[in-house]
Amino acid sequence: MSRTKLDLLVGFFVAIGFAALVFLALKVGNLSSANNGETYAIQAKFDNIGGLKVRGAVKSAGVVVGRVADIRFDAETYTAIVTIQVDARYVFPRDTIATINTSGLLGEQYIGFEVGGDADMLKSGDSIKKTQSAVVLEKLISQFMFNKAADGGEKK
């Protein structure tokens, strides 16, 4: 086989190999949507984070505006301290409420921002005052069952 043809075939092979990598990065992975731009950190304390994970999404109005950077347990107040990296393009009022929601019935959990009306904005290092913990399905069901039982008892 001539050298030029061999070079051509190897060049073709390397090119489609890299094309496959680019396909994986852009079409399959989240490189296209991930902005590695500036972020700022804010903290929020939750009584119960449920199944929230590090790198979980932080959404406002359903749009991803940040990521969960760190989850720690505060041994003094027995709460979970969640550090959130928010995209620097977005600022939120100081009275924003952070809630832990579930996408779908069995989906993964994310933090939702319910935006308030304060004129002051959250800065890097601030913490969110009002939070709402994860809804634990078992608690909800047991509450429902107890209420049912109590209702049934009254009727008799």
């Binding site: 190897v10 092979f13 390397v14 489609i16 190999g17 496959a20 990598l21 399959v28 992975g29 989240n30």
Partner: protein, 264 residues
């Protein structure tokens, strides 16, 4: 009785020392390859030729296997997911299993049997026909001229083949899931993109395939170079290449996975 125990212990000890001696020899051989690489890269065309033999000629088997593995994942994944009513997650299932595990591992296993065995047989036969000795007579370092280009050819080809395998598999999963079964195309891709992380999943998959490329190429060139210079010796060395590199790939995969994904 006493004699039997002594002989059994001796045999066990000999097994262990032989293994360790071979491992040490293989490690010194690995360092010798790295030392000779500079000389070998001055004639880069030799390495390009080996990329052709190991990479380009493995394309067909890698692409076809990837397509079928992806299609099977699509069928099996759909079958399980539809019980929980979450068939939209099919894209996530196909993409994550391919990018994290099946792509690098299956491509490396195919690569070991397709290209690794060929490298071993070629070098072993060169040794059996005394071509390597002839090179040394002419003051040509056989490690720089024969071994290093084959090693680097394998190391370069392997990650590219694994990426092609994964891409082809995802395409196969798309064909079965979206085109054949009728999973919603939008949620197939968007859920996939939301769950597959570039650094965590794709880069780790590429790192795995590079490590597997080094392992397969190293085992292949070492077994060939170390082969007994007879017909039976070359065939035994070829078999050992496939067995050893397959086991090493699976063991290394476990170790790498434990390091990469244990934190999640």
């Amino acid at each position: 009785m006493d004699n039997l125990v002594v002989r059994a212990l001796g045999a066990l000890g000999r097994q262990v020392t032989t293994r360790i001696w071979r491992l040490g020899y293989a490690s010194r051989f690995f360092i010798a390859i790295l030392m000779a690489s500079g000389t070998s890269f001055r004639r880069i065309h030799l390495t390009i030729r080996e990329i052709y033999f190991t990479g380009v000629l493995s394309l067909i088997i890698i692409l076809v296997s990837g397509l079928f593995v992806g299609m099977v994942l699509g069928l099996q994944g759909y079958d399980t997911l539809q019980r929980y009513g979450s068939t939209e997650a099919l894209g996530v299932l196909v993409a994550l299993s391919l990018v994290r595990e099946l792509g690098p591992v299956v491509a490396a296993l195919l690569f070991a049997s397709r290209a690794g065995s060929a490298i071993t047989a070629e070098i072993g036969l060169m040794k059996a026909t005394e071509q390597l000795s002839a090179m040394e007579m002419m003051a040509i370092d056989p490690i720089a001229r024969v071994v290093a280009p084959r090693f680097w050819g394998g190391v370069v080809s392997m990650p590219l083949l694994a990426a092609l395998f994964s891409a082809m598999g995802i395409f196969g999963g798309y064909l079965v899931g979206v085109q054949l079964i009728g999973v919603d195309e939008g949620s197939f891709w968007s859920q996939m993109q939301a769950s597959v992380d570039f650094r965590q999943d794709i880069v780790n998959g590429v790192i795995k395939s590079v490590v597997f490329g080094v392992i397969v190429s190293w085992v292949a060139v070492f077994e060939g170079f170390d082969a007994e210079p007879t017909a039976a010796g070359v065939s035994g060395a070829t078999t050992r290449t496939v067995v050893t590199s397959s086991l090493a790939i699976l063991a290394a995969d476990f170790i790498l996975t434990a390091f990469m994904f244990s934190g999640i």
